[in-house]
Symmetry: D2
Subunit: 136 residues, 4 copies
């Protein structure tokens, strides 16, 4: 693991992440092996049947995944993700995504992401990253 | 399977899908068990290290997944997804996502999604839907 | 949910599950929404490089998944699974798999499976089932 | 990629894979980036409701995954797997699993596994490996 990740600097950089900003994602907290972020559901985040779009839910989780995995080693790149959609949400609801380290090696890491609205679990995902080492 | 899905009407409705529109996704083709859609990468779709954001790549695939699965039965809701990120892309690149039916029962369906830039495979996902029946 | 699952009878039936017996899996506990089972690693469970075979690790988790999901509704059939392999184990080690309900509807359910050797997490999986209703 | 994998030697070693032998898996063919293996379903491979056990189906696919991924680089270790169960099979049926390389880098690789009985697709899985380099 790269012990030199500067979490303040990482947080600043993630607050400027273009796609996260585009979606209105707020980076709430980044600790080593953990990140929490949130957004408020807008009309733009629904699908054609009026439910929360799965792509949006995953995108929020993915921002947390990126923040948590890069807190452990910079840069960490997503290899694989998997997950389940459990509930929907309404316009105006605030969704919170948390990502937590489950297991790491020097070269890979596994994280769990949970998206909630209040106490309701909306979706859960697992993701695996590759830890890039300079010179590779 | 619900044989009464009107593909013309479904296509019209998907062209008004709020999240797909928000991302600039174009619905190119919907056939029974198949859909193709695309977008052009903008600055807003990058992450904080300047690469294509995984959430955006999945979102594009998810629009195709929704279109293909609802072509077989309306409504079909995503239960599970999984996949891998293989390559990145640049601002200005056009990404094409195709979703194809692998297997269906009356109540569930499995689809494969592939996201390409020209001949390059950028990401691949599998997804499973639940076929909702009225009255449930 | 089918409230009539008789957990004593289910436990008896799972103790006769042919594949679980073939692998030497012990069904330790089944409660509503939860199951725990275990096995002791033998030479037959290694792969050609001398590590624990991924197929065996998943098989143990799958026995727990089957027990937990059928405790909530009988019969429940696995639709999708996903997971990660974190550590290996040695001949003679005892592996314990636990499966826990994360979310259920009348027709589907999501479970998390964790395989441990003592406190070490060896592998984790998520799985989704379909709840079959008689007459379908 | 390690270009020095000796496919004849790998095939010999995989034919002695303890878990594959325990399950009665036959290694039919290994080429660079591809493997095919098979087994005949026995009573021991069923679950408590008389259907093919998911753990067995995955195990067969995992043997093919191991063979294909190690043909590209030795050793390659499974990080993540995901997949769907589509159909069951009967005692006496011959199941064939094929694993094919989808994408590789020097350090990781993605493979697709399909399990068939004749023309019927029984299950499909994706898997990602880490390519271990000596000295790590």
């Amino acid at each position: 693991m790269n012990s030199e990740v500067n979490l303040e600097e990482l947080t600043s950089r993630l607050k400027e992440d273009p796609y996260a900003r585009f979606l209105g994602v707020e980076i709430e907290q980044i600790k080593k092996g953990y990140a929490r972020c949130s957004l408020v559901v807008t009309e733009d985040m629904l699908n054609f049947v009026g439910l929360l779009h799965g792509g949006l839910v995953f995108s929020l989780a993915d921002v947390a995944f990126s923040a948590a995995s890069n807190s452990d080693h910079l840069p960490s790149y997503a290899l694989d993700v998997s997950g389940s959609f459990l509930k929907t949400a309404q316009v105006g609801d605030r969704l919170v995504a948390e990502a937590s380290l489950i297991h790491t090696t020097k070269r890979t890491g596994v994280y769990r992401m949970e998206v909630r609205r209040g106490d309701d679990l909306i979706a859960l995902f697992n993701g695996t990253v590759f830890r890039k080492v300079s010179g590779e």
